[in-house]
Amino acid sequence: MTTRKPKESVSWRKSIKGRRAIGYILTFALLVPLGIAFVLPFIVMVSTALKPLNQVFAFPPRLIPETVQWENFADGWYGYGYVNFTTCTWNSLKITVNNIIGNLVSCTLAAYAFARLKARGKNFFFALVLATMLLPNEALVVPQYVLFNRFGWLDTHLPLMVPPWFGWPFFIFLLRQFFLTIPEELVDAAKIDGAGHARILLQIFIPLSKPALATLAIFAFIGNWNNFFGPLLYLRTPDVQTLPVCLVQYQGAYGNTDWHLMMAVATIAVIPVLLIFIFGQRYFVEGIATSGVKG
């Protein structure tokens, strides 16, 4: 019997343990600086939000304010004559919540139909879903503007709040993919018990699809909360504005902006998105992975 010991001359660098350690170090040497770069814009935002104006323009720039001026948040919120942040935030919230519900309801119905119902013409309509999935709304904005003008909807929230009740191809696609994974046997069992499609959808599909629905709700929240193009286009009077438009109105003439106050309000505007992202992170990542790998 010869149990050979590993030769002493095999250097630590080449041993499995050593390789792994070097791999770790190299990986972290890239992961950490990149991570810092990714959060830097936020640090700049928050630190500017906490500075007095004269320190904002100080050189060299400091990430940690010398004196912290908490009142920037209140001053920013109330301090700008014609911009009413309370109204804007309320409008943003109202539109966002409405659009999440509208999207979930309309897309769940369509996704169930595409995933589980047999009908002539289904493939044709599903091809239409796929064809319009990547089409950004920006390309349709001119004629939509005319349409909403005809409806008399300009300067109201209707152009922003009505379309979400009529489906969104990307969400329909994602939900359909998820619905396809629900075992057929569950549906058959329910059918034997005499359940109709409405009941199957409500009592089997929706409870089993909570993660997928949460993903869509998060997507919808972020998309609508950050939406700038639509409100800028359809809304005129201050009373109906949403948060992103309010923020832009803060930009004074070039060079005259109260940067510390603007950053304070920008920080407040970003917080809801951050919270949603932190608490819904798991769903979020899974949802995007599904969209990519499965189509």
Binding site: L134, E138, F277
Partner: protein
């Protein structure tokens, strides 16, 4: 008998079909009213002298397109859009791939880094665009200050004609979150056996990456490239908040050109022509995606 000609359909199948159409009805109405209708309307309007009112439109044939193609600013906006598209595809996608490879390493705390890398994507919007104006400030901004610390005199970024487009590309690299995650999922889908057999053949890490990972990833890469091209056409927020197409026309991209013509110069007929061109380009891209990725897409969808 007619019955022979039509496929026999049972009562329950008929009911199922009715329910199908009932369930897709909201989406179908939305498609007709908010997408298909507008697209066709847009095509029609692009042949008229439409300024503000829709009441006395004159049919002017291809005049809008002729005017558009004769406008040097239109071609500038096409060139700028292409510049940004290429920059975002080349730098954005390779950067996202680097991040995905990093996040695919088996090291502790990876979920934390994944969240951090995704963060700027979810907050992309007016608030963060405003911060970037400040970051890009040539004299007082953190970017040029950091560069100075390592002995580089930074450029004037968005405040110069030469640097504004690279600046926008650099900024967009912070929001590659979705394509990073899609690539990561793609990497995790590469069968382990392939790496094992490559290792038996004596392939090193780089060889494994070029000969196993990249070919296996190619459909995902293609999809990701299409997404980043499409999203390059949507970069309205940054342009509106940070540059308004300037300095000069150096960041005037197609979506900004459309916006200016439609809602500032009130040349709606011309804007409709631009929108129609953008629509055709985007549909061709979508078509290419499904044509190239069809086998892969349906395979996954059927098994999924």
């Amino acid at each position: 008998m007619f019955r022979r000609l039509t496929r026999p359909i049972s009562a329950s199948a008929k009911r199922e079909e009715r329910i199908f159409y009932l369930f897709i009805l909201p989406w179908l109405i939305g498609l007709v009213v908010f997408s298909a209708g507008p697209v066709l309307g847009m095509l029609g309007l692009s042949f008229t002298d439409w300024r503000i009112s829709l009441d006395d439109l004159q049919f002017i044939g291809l005049d809008n397109y002729a005017k558009l193609f004769a406008d040097p600013i239109f071609w500038t906006s096409v060139g700028n859009t292409l510049y940004i598209v290429v920059g975002r595809v080349v730098f954005g996608v390779s950067f996202a791939l680097l991040l995905a490879v990093l996040l695919n390493q088996k090291v502790p705390g990876i979920a934390f880094f994944r969240a951090v890398y995704y963060l700027p994507t979810v907050t992309a919007g007016v608030a963060v665009a405003l911060v970037w104006i400040w970051i890009f400030n040539p004299r007082l901004g953190i970017l040029n200050y950091s560069l100075k610390q390592i002995g580089i005199t930074g450029p004037p970024w968005i405040f110069s004609k030469d640097w504004v487009k690279p600046s926008l590309i650099l900024m967009s690299m912070f929001s590659v979150g979705p394509i990073m995650i899609i690539l990561l999922a793609g990497l995790q889908g590469v069968p382990k056996e392939l790496y094992e057999s490559a290792a038996i053949d004596g392939a090193g890490n780089w060889k494994k990456f070029t000969n196993v990972t990249l070919p296996m990833l190619s459909p995902v890469l293609f999809f990701v490239i299409i997404i980043s091209v499409v999203s390059s056409f949507q970069n309205f927020t940054e342009i509106r908040v940070m540059t308004e197409g300037g300095p000069g026309e150096s960041s005037n991209v197609m979506i900004w050109y459309l916006w200016e013509n439609a809602f500032i110069f009130l040349q709606l007929g011309i804007a409709a022509a631009v929108a129609w061109i953008m629509f055709v380009v985007l549909m061709v891209l979508t078509g290419a995606q499904f044509w190239v990725g069809r086998r892969w897409v349906y395979y996954e969808a059927d098994s999924g």
